[in-house]
Symmetry: C2
Subunit: 336 residues, 2 copies
C-alpha cells in the first residue's frame, strides 16, 4: 500500500511577486520510512491559498520562507495510510500542512484536524471548513463583531473568505456590501452569497457607487486587497469604525514598496481601529468554527463555491490564478 516514490511540486526559484509555473518543478521523490511520531498521508486534495505567496516570498513575513528545493508548503486533505503516532490510525481522514505532494510523510504536529463531518465532501476542509472558514469566522466573531444594523464592507467579497464573511455578518444583522472584480462576481455577491449590495470595483464610477451603497459610512471593513479599493473604503469610514486587514491581494509587488494616500488623519478623526489578522492566531477557534459552519452548510444557510483543478500538473500555475481573478471559488487541486 505504501508507494516507493511520489510526485511533488518543488520550489526552484524565488518569485519576486506572484509565484508562477517557472518557479516550480514537479519531481519524483522517494517516500521515506516513517519515524516515530510520523504519518504517511495520501493527499486527496491540495489547497491553493493567497498565504502561499507569502511563504515563498523573499520579503519578511510571519512564517519561515520555503527553501529552494523544498516541497511547497500547503494545506491538504487525505487519508492516513500508515501511522507511528497513537492519535492517528490508517483510514483516518486528516487535514493539515502536508504540502504539494501526492504522498506525504509528515510529523503528526502538522495535522490540523481529523475530519468528523463524514457526510460532507472532504475538499471543504480546505476552504469553508478550513483556513478560509476559520478566517471569516474568527474575523467576524472575534474582531469585527458587527452590531445589527451596522454596515459591513468586504473586499474580494465573492472569494473563499469574503463570501463567508458576508454571510456571517448578515447572520448578525449587519447590512453587507460586497466588492468584487467584474459584474459577474458583483452579481454573485448578491444572488449567491446574500450581500445586500454587490459592487464591481472595475466600474469607472466605483467610488460613487460605494458612497451610494454606504450612506451612513462604513462601520466595519474586512480588507482582503489593499490598493485603490481599500483607499475608497477608508475614505468612507464612520466614527469608531474598525478595519480588519486580512490580505493584500491587489498589490502584486512590494519591491519597490507601493505608496498610497496617508491614512493617519482618517484613523484619527474617525477614531478608527485597524488590525492585522492572521487565522493562525485563532487556531483555538477552529473546532467551534467548523461545527458552526458545517451546521450552516447542512441546513443550506451557508453558500460556498469551489473551483477544482485536476491533477498535480495543474498546481504550478494555480497560485497566479488567485491574483488574476480567474478562479471561480475556493481553488483546490484534486489528486484522485
Amino acid at each position: 500500500m505504501t508507494p516507493a516514490t511520489t510526485r511533488q511540486v518543488v520550489l526552484v526559484a524565488r518569485p519576486e511577486d506572484v509565484p508562477r509555473p517557472e518557479h516550480f518543478e514537479i519531481r519524483q521523490a522517494r517516500v521515506p520510512d516513517l519515524a516515530e511520531g510520523q504519518l504517511l498521508v495520501r493527499n486527496d486534495y491540495l489547497s491553493v491559498d493567497p498565504a502561499m505567496r507569502g511563504w515563498v516570498s523573499p520579503v519578511a513575513n510571519y512564517a519561515e520562507p520555503v527553501a529552494i528545493g523544498q516541497v511547497l508548503r500547503s494545506f491538504a486533505v487525505g487519508e492516513v495510510l500508515a501511522s507511528r503516532h497513537p492519535d492517528h490510525q490508517p483510514g483516518d481522514v486528516v487535514m493539515g500542512m502536508f504540502g504539494w505532494t501526492e504522498h506525504a510523510v509528515v510529523d503528526a504536529t502538522t495535522v490540523w484536524r481529523t475530519l468528523t463531518e463524514t457526510d460532507l465532501p472532504r475538499s471543504l476542509s480546505l476552504g469553508v471548513l478550513g483556513l478560509n472558514g476559520l478566517t471569516a469566522w474568527a474575523g467576524v466573531h472575534r474582531v469585527l463583531r458587527p452590531r445589527p444594523g451596522s454596515t459591513v464592507v468586504v473586499s474580494t467579497a465573492a472569494g473563499a473568505v469574503g463570501s463567508v464573511v458576508g454571510q456571517l455578518a448578515a447572520d448578525l444583522g449587519a447590512r453587507t456590501v460586497g466588492i468584487a472584480g467584474g459584474p459577474t462576481k458583483a452579481t454573485r455577491c448578491v444572488q449567491e452569497f446574500g450581500y445586500d449590495v454587490g459592487l464591481d470595483y472595475r466600474a469607472p464610477d466605483f467610488p460613487d457607487q460605494l458612497a451610494e451603497a454606504t450612506p451612513e459610512g462604513v462601520d466595519h471593513y474586512f480588507d482582503n486587497t489593499s490598493g485603490p479599493v481599500t483607499d475608497a473604503v477608508m475614505a468612507r469610514l464612520a466614527p469608531h469604525s474598525s478595519v480588519l486587514v486580512c490580505g493584500t491581494a491587489a498589490i502584486t509587488s512590494w519591491d519597490p514598496w507601493p505608496t498610497g494616500p496617508r491614512t493617519e488623519r482618517i484613523i484619527l478623526t474617525r477614531r478608527a481601529r485597524i488590525e492585522g489578522f492572521l487565522a493562525f492566531d485563532h487556531l483555538d477557534a477552529l473546532p467551534e468554527a467548523v461545527t458552526d459552519l458545517a451546521d450552516k452548510i447542512r441546513t443550506g444557510q451557508l453558500a460556498h463555491r469551489e473551483h477544482v483543478l485536476h491533477g498535480l500538473d495543474q498546481a504550478p500555475g494555480a497560485i497566479a490564478m488567485l491574483y488574476d481573478g480567474s478562479n471561480d471559488g475556493k481553488l483546490v487541486i484534486q489528486l484522485r
Copy 2:
C-alpha cells in the same frame, strides 16, 4: 467688577493649512448680560493646542468648525466673576472651553472642571493637568498599556503630550525612545523627561539610529506626527504591536491629500493594531488622571515645561509656533 467690553481673537479667514496671524483679528466686543445657567469668567491663561488647527480647518473633522467672525474656540483657565449657575460661585477657578477672549460669558456646560489643586500654578490646568495630561494618561493607561520591558516610541517626545507619555510609560517599566526635532530637544528627552534614548529626526541617519535604539522592534508607538517619522517607526513594528494615532503635526496640508508608504502589509504581517485617539472620548478619566498627575508633580516625579506668551496680542501667531517647532514646552498665553 464686570467690564462693559472685552478684547477677543476672532477668526476672519479660513486657513488652508496652518493658522497664521492673517487669519485672525483682535476685536473689542460688548460683554453680554448673563442668561440663566451662564458664567462670566475672567481668563488668566489661554491655551494653544494643535487641535485648534482642526477646529478652524475646512476639512471634515471631529468637531464643528469655528465660523468666520466667531471667537476662536480654545481652552482657558480663569476666575468666575459672576454666575447664574448653582455649581459655580464668584472666586472659583475654572478651566474649560472659554475661547480666546479676555472675558467670557459662557454656558456652565463649557466648564471642564473647577480647580482643586490650589497649591499648583493655574496654568498647569491647560497642559499637564488638562487636555495634554489627559491625552497622555488615557493613551498610556487605557490604550497602549505597555508591559514592563516593552519598547515604547513617542514622536514629538519633548512636547506637551509626548513628555508626559514617556514618563508614564517608564513608570510602567517600559523602555522609552523619544523622537524630537533637533539635538536640543532630543537631549532634553533624556535629561529632563527620563527617556532611555532621545533621537533627533532631522539627523541624516535617523532611520539607522532608530533601528539601533529598537533592536527588538517597537511594541508601542504613540504617534503625534504622521509623515516620515511615522514611516520609519512603522517599519520597525514588532509582532502584536500597537500604535496610537494622536496627531499629525508633520503634515502641514491635507489638500492635496499626501501619500506615503502603504501600511497594510506591515499591519498584516505584524498583526499590529492602529487606533485613532481623541482625549474627548476619555473625559470620564479626567478626575483620576488629574489626581495622579498632580501627585506626581508634587513629589517631583513628573517633569513638565511651559512656554508662556504674554498678552492677547501674541495669540494670533501662536498656533503656527506649534508647527515650526519654535515653542519650548506647553504653549500658553498669560493675560494677567
